[in-house]
Symmetry: C2
Subunit: 345 residues, 2 copies
């Protein structure tokens, strides 16, 4: 017999475990499996798009189950198990096939992957929603918002000095941040579906925008490259080497989002420059920020963010992402902040 207290505690553990993954095309999800007495026997989490879902991760940790044992087990998960075959099979089917006795989930899935609870019930497995899903909604509040707004999850990267400059007045900017920060940022590139920069950044910095390992090798998955803006681009751009890029001839963030949707990009990384990053921040389209800060004061040059603010009440407010295991970190000589917008009141 599993008590309500045990279920609530398991949900707490599942929420914590969820933070080991990365939000992006998919939300953070955590799962726990309890035995017939309500003892925790496995946890699982979703590392990110392309990796096993939390429920399957937890099931794998248990290994092969005989039907009598499995039938006594309870799965607790922060999000309704999916009923969708994407890069991985549907979790609802995996749970039913494993013979799990009952399922409790927090947030109900309203995306295209919904229907998992109904599927489980159709296989004779009680699937119950927690009465209080506030913490589980909060865990992914911006991810749910991005789905409601029918757009990619959007990460904005800022790389700046202590005084938030991204270059000196003569344009020099290499390298403000540390090798460790740049390596971390390449890890971001490897997780996203698309990277966006502005035409000025494309011309002036001429980045490759590839996701590379510490020793310069290409990651297996490479992001699609988008360049936003109306400036004509030279043919010799570094990012034009190889496939998978295009210019979007606009200054409008919503036009960019429509194109990203057409391309099926579930997770978009905004790498700059300041004008592009600021446009997404101003439109409240930054679902998370990674802010890399190098320990220097430049004292002049371009600021990382420029907004049409006139008074302090209009400032955009964030918080260190408390769900993340890595909301404030030292990267070599730099520090890195992982932030999310404050939930609207």
């Amino acid at each position: 017999m599993v008590t309500t207290q045990q279920l609530d505690a398991a949900l707490g553990t599942a929420l914590e475990t969820a933070g080991r993954g990365h939000r992006g095309a998919n939300p953070l999800v955590g799962a726990c499996i309890l035995d017939g007495d309500g003892n925790l026997i496995a946890t699982g989490y979703h590392l990110g798009a392309g990796h096993p879902h939390a429920e399957v991760d937890a099931l794998r940790r248990l290994g092969k189950l005989d039907p009598a044992t499995a039938g006594k087990l309870t799965m607790v998960v922060t999000l309704e198990p999916c009923n969708h075959t994407g890069r991985t099979g549907p979790c609802a089917k995996a749970i039913a096939d494993a013979g799990i006795g009952q399922v409790h989930y927090a947030v109900s899935d309203r995306t295209a992957a919904s229907g998992g609870a109904q599927y489980l019930r159709s296989r004779g497995i009680p699937a119950t929603q927690f009465a209080d899903d506030a913490a589980a909604r909060a865990l992914n509040h911006r991810w749910f918002l991005s789905k409601e707004q029918d757009r990619p999850f959007i990460t904005v990267k800022l790389a700046q000095s202590l005084d938030a400059r991204i270059n000196a007045p003569d344009g020099t900017s290499q390298w403000i941040t540390s090798p460790e920060s740049r390596n971390h940022a390449h890890g971001l590139r490897a997780r996203v579906d698309g990277i966006l920069i502005g035409t000025n950044t494309a011309v002036i910095d001429n980045p490759r925008l590839s996701a590379r390992t510490r020793d310069g090798q290409l990651h297996g998955k490479q992001p699609y490259r988008l360049v936003m803006g109306q400036r004509e681009l030279p043919e010799s751009l570094a990012l034009a080497e190889g496939d998978g890029w295009e210019q979007i001839n606009t200054h409008d963030v919503h036009t960019v989002i429509r194109r990203a949707n057409e391309l099926g990009l579930g997770h978009l990384l905004i790498e700059g420059g300041a004008t592009v990053a600021s446009a997404f921040i101003e439109a409240d389209l930054a679902d998370e920020l990674y802010c890399y800060q190098a320990p220097l004061l430049i004292g002049a040059g371009s600021s990382s963010v420029n907004l049409p603010t006139t008074t302090l009440g209009q400032a955009h407010r964030y918080r260190l992402d408390s769900s993340s295991n890595e909301s404030l970190a030292r990267l070599g000589d730099d520090i890195m902040l992982h932030l999310e917008p404050l939930p609207s009141a």
Copy 2:
């Protein structure tokens, strides 16, 4: 018999222990006491000006010693014991009076407090300098520089948004930082001898510049208040309530330093505004920075630092103060960085 390895290890421990204190009018100092077999039996550190010195702190932890025991003990200290009666008595005398058998110290004291080793020897106590004092010099490299330059140790406080703004274009700035950050900054005020602001800050923000506890009570020690600049000040300034303030009618940082020396201020805190802080940073007179960052993007308004930089090579480079136990901290919703200038190569 104490081995060289034991002495080196004790110096390492003393250097670490030193970081529990705060640099200011006095440097960071740590001490260890070893028994006759070279075992560590006590550590001590100097919390800051007005508190016991590291050697006395370590002796106190041992309690009363009988002469036979004391004679077998070795004191290891990161800085030559002082021979100076200031707010506390001379350490060299305290060590000799306790009957300690031998002393090993790292950096030799060249300030007005020097002569401790000679005093110890005059009392028949071998006092030996470590061959390698590089780590102990590095621990206080900026403090030693401030003494060589015959000036106060200077702390610069920056309180800013993530994008390094200190106000919005309409001047609104209260409160960018969290109550926890402001409380921490009041702790700084309570440790320094003087606080400096510019005339514009005095007029516009009209701060009291008193050091207050979390519940608004005045700390026992209050800093002397200096206002730098040529703008005429109104008589109704908040900081003019009570004694202990003056205007220095100059824009020159060196004039301010001369006056601080005349006033006997060993530790000066620069609280802003941006022009005053930047002048000290540009003159390489910021011995440490406390940078409080609130998690918001203002996107316009004044920057915390403005320097006549043209190219990145001229940027002022810092590092998280590795000697400190608190070089990167969360203060409520804010973060705080404690930085020191990179040592010159």
